[in-house]
């Protein structure tokens, strides 16, 4: 899922500073699962904003809503009937959701309440870690299911580098060496033959480097 991090309250307060009536919109998608933008977080953030503004003598009127998703048009449309009564929307969705609200609810300023960080997994409760860089050219079948682009700090394709020590990356003890993981997996799967292959230069065109991406499925378009 897409993981994000709540912005500091100070920054959010300065974003909503010019406003007196806002909507705080959460999302039941990824941000609910990673506990940063769902129903509960909407309530907590709305309370915090109201408290701060009440204490400052400038009450803030907050309408709380959590949408099914902010990245599909039909759910965004559900806001249209009332969004015009407010001066702006503070969205707890990922960057895609925030932008989609902005594209469709063009008359309203849309503000991001979270910093969208990465595509990742729940390693254990309260702990999420990055797994995928969305490079558009997946090679996981050749590396034991572990991504060299994401899990290796240097995105090496023939690793590990000379800085790998005791299974961790040179940058920090908490960061496992991606290539140590790959080798352990290949060994466990009996596929070390995949290690000593020279890999061609990566085609980054399918990644963000090639420009903003788009997929059109002719079989699905109307």
């Amino acid at each position: 899922m897409i993981i994000g991090n709540t912005k500091p309250l100070e920054q959010i307060l300065s974003m909503v500073e010019p406003f007196d009536r806002i909507v705080v919109a959460g999302c039941y998608g990824c941000v609910t699962v990673c506990r940063v933008g769902g129903d509960k977080e909407v309530q907590v953030l709305a309370s915090a904003l109201r408290l701060a503004r009440a204490a400052a003598g400038r009450p803030l009127d907050v309408r709380e809503v959590t949408l099914e998703r902010q990245c599909d048009p039909e759910y965004v449309e559900t806001m249209r009937p009332y969004v015009g009564d407010y001066q702006g929307v503070l969205s707890l969705a990922c960057g895609a959701g925030v932008q989609f609200l902005a594209e469709r609810l063009t008359a309203s300023p849309i503000l991001p309440a979270i910093d969208t960080t990465f595509i990742g997994v729940t390693e254990r409760q309260g702990e999420w870690a990055e797994r995928c860089q969305a490079c558009g050219d997946c090679v996981l079948h050749t590396t034991g299911g572990i991504c060299p682009v994401t899990r290796c700090s240097k995105s090496i394709f023939h690793g590990p580098c000379g800085g790998s020590m005791s299974g961790h990356c040179e940058i920090a003890k908490e960061v496992p060496c991606g290539w140590q993981l790959i080798i352990d997996r290949l060994r466990a799967l009996g596929r070390m033959d995949q290690y000593e292959k020279l890999r061609p230069l990566k085609n980054w065109r399918s990644s963000r480097d090639g420009g903003p991406r788009r997929i059109i499925r002719e079989d699905l378009t109307q």
Binding site: A48, L51, A54, A55, G57, P59
Partner: protein, 128 residues
Amino acid sequence: MILKAFENGADGVMVVGCLEGDCHYLVGNIRARRRVERVARILAQTGIGAQRVRMVNLSAGEGAKFVSHAAEFDDHIRELGPSPINVVRSKAAAVPAAAQAERPGGPGGPGGPGGPGALRTEAAREQR
């Protein structure tokens, strides 16, 4: 829930949980402590004051201790004075109604004539 209490005009909130290691729901009291800590941080960041929320651990049989904790907390909150929100609201209430716009989100200030406003404390038993 705790934040709502402050929004509604509470000057302080005391949360009571089971003794650590003795919770019927195993770790409910520990999770509660972490959440109370989070609320305290938010109270600090919003200018309300982290000291206005407190968690204490008791067993169901410690009635006397409960009373003494509650009394102590009550004194503590009186010393801190009314929550900044109540101060602001009571000032606003003192302004003639015509000059004051209606604001949703909580009752008007507790201020009656003559005082900075009644102090309120709430003790809430943590429930799961």
